[in-house]
Amino acid sequence: MLLDALRREAPADPAPETRIADAPPASAPARHPAEAASRGIAVTARDLRKSFDGNTVIEGLDLYLPAGGFTAVVGRSGCGKSTLLRLILGLEVPTGGRIVLEGPETGPRRSDPPKRIMFQEPRLLPWARVVDNVTVGLSGHGSRAERRERALAALAEVGLSDKAGQWPATLSGGQRQRVALARALVGRPGLLALDEPLGALDALTRIGMQDLIERIWLAQGFTALLVTHDVSEAVALADRILVVEAGRIALDVRVDVPRPRRRGDPDLARLEGRILDHLLGAEPNV
């Protein structure tokens, strides 16, 4: 309720909202997991500002991410997209404005689903076995045996059951990112932020990871926020794409292409072209 009110009060969004494909705009099909699981955290940002040493990175940004949605943020490097994600996660303190995270209404406050992030690099503890790296995602929850059991289940989900006892140093880059994904998911997050997590992977591994992330998101219903410079990745995964330019949202696009999406789908390709045109046509901000 409060959120709706806020949204209506908010100054008219300067970004044009566009829809593509022939899907009816208002009623999204039931593919949306929000209703099914409703474990997601909704994010509202109002007049958000952030500057580092007088250098403005985010300037008066308004944003609403509904619970359970999959939003991608794209933009040139240095446009402030990573900073936006870090602000939402609470890794940076905003210079002005505020961010409200709202979990599902049910249950006591202490059992709020956590917010998790997958970084650009796996950031695994090299001195902990794979399974112990996953239990990091359960810090402060349950008994040792319980944590281990859930970690093994999460590893099975990303297809790495057989690597549980290995050192991270023995895994490939893609396997390490899958361990990082298992670590992020094992705590049943309400919000999963992905900060270009697939940037360092080769093309085929990346597509495999994208499918894995989509599948798990559909099954678990958390709110997903993906920051990426790869427009085709954003188009393949997200149901909404925000183009950030000079610390503001310059374009807000809904992707109404039903899932599972086929790679090379003409609708997706058209959308990708549109966003790229916008990015390339924009004044370069250095």
Binding site: R123, P126, W127, V136, W167, R183
Partner: protein, 261 residues
């Protein structure tokens, strides 16, 4: 790589000892043939005999025990303080600002130059040796612990925070294991300095211990005992190093650089 055959493995084990054994044999031959006067350089067999005699009377074991005890207690005191201060300064800006400059100033004084002062303070009792060993051991442990904590990847610390680790967990699961390789470097340096300091201290002012035994032998021109003492130092140093290596291998198994082949 090929799997080593038993013969190949034997060769790999034997190879490092080839040179020392050859030197020993050449040395024995040179003394036996009268090329070297055994007043300056005793033959290896004379040294073995000296060791046997000293061992039979129990004198060797007493001295060895006394020296080891001194070394270890000095190491425990100096290493303990160095480790604690290294941790404190690595984790707390305030503590570092308060103490690091002073420590760096004292560090540049060669600790053995304090021997005259230490004898004035403590005489030639146990405290003098303990003080010197502790002082010598303190710096490498302190500096490497501090450096280790400083060089822990901040990205991992941030990850630990985001994933809700408590301060204790952050320390035991991220900071300490990350600092461990550097701490081991400090440990090995410290062990070397430990023996060095103790021997110098015992040679100059002591009434027991290996260094004292060597000095006594010099008084009576017992070259074989002097050489025996030196060889025992070498063996003790090697032993300490081998123990640290084992410990490293056990604690740093995750690191491909330390994994045994």
């Amino acid at each position: 790589m090929m799997r080593p055959t038993p013969l190949g493995r034997l060769r790999d084990t034997a190879l490092p000892w080839l040179l020392p054994v050859a030197i020993l044999l050449g040395w024995q031959a040179a003394v036996s043939a009268g090329l070297v006067s055994n007043r300056f350089m005793p033959a290896p067999l004379d040294v073995v005999r000296a060791g046997w005699d000293a061992g039979r009377t129990g004198e060797l074991w007493t001295n060895l025990w006394v020296s080891t005890l001194r070394a270890l207690s000095g190491f425990a005191v100096g290493g303990g303080i160095g480790f604690a201060l290294g941790l404190a300064n690595g984790l707390s800006r305030l503590s570092e600002r308060l103490t690091d400059t002073s420590v760096q100033m004292v560090r540049n004084v060669p600790h053995l130059s304090l021997i005259p002062l230490v004898i004035l303070w403590f005489g030639i009792g146990e405290e003098a040796k303990l003080f010197l060993v502790a002082l010598g051991v303190f710096f490498p442990i302190y500096a490497n612990t501090l450096h280790g904590i400083r060089s822990v990847d901040p990205a991992l610390v941030e990850m630990g925070r985001v994933y809700g680790m408590s301060r204790t967990e952050l320390f035991t699961k991220v900071v300490l294991p990350g600092a461990l390789p550097s701490i081991f470097v400090g440990l090995r340096y410290a062990l070397g300095i430990m023996w060095l300091t103790l021997i110098v201290a015992e040679t100059i002012s002591a009434s027991s211990g290996l260094g004292y035994m060597a000095m006594q032998a010099r008084e009576f021109m017992l070259v074989d005992v002097v050489v025996l003492a030196i060889l025992i130092y070498a063996a003790l140093g090697k032993l300490a190093d081998a123990l640290t290596r084992q410990l490293e291998r056990a604690c740093l198994a995750w690191n491909p650089a330390y994994r045994s082949a």
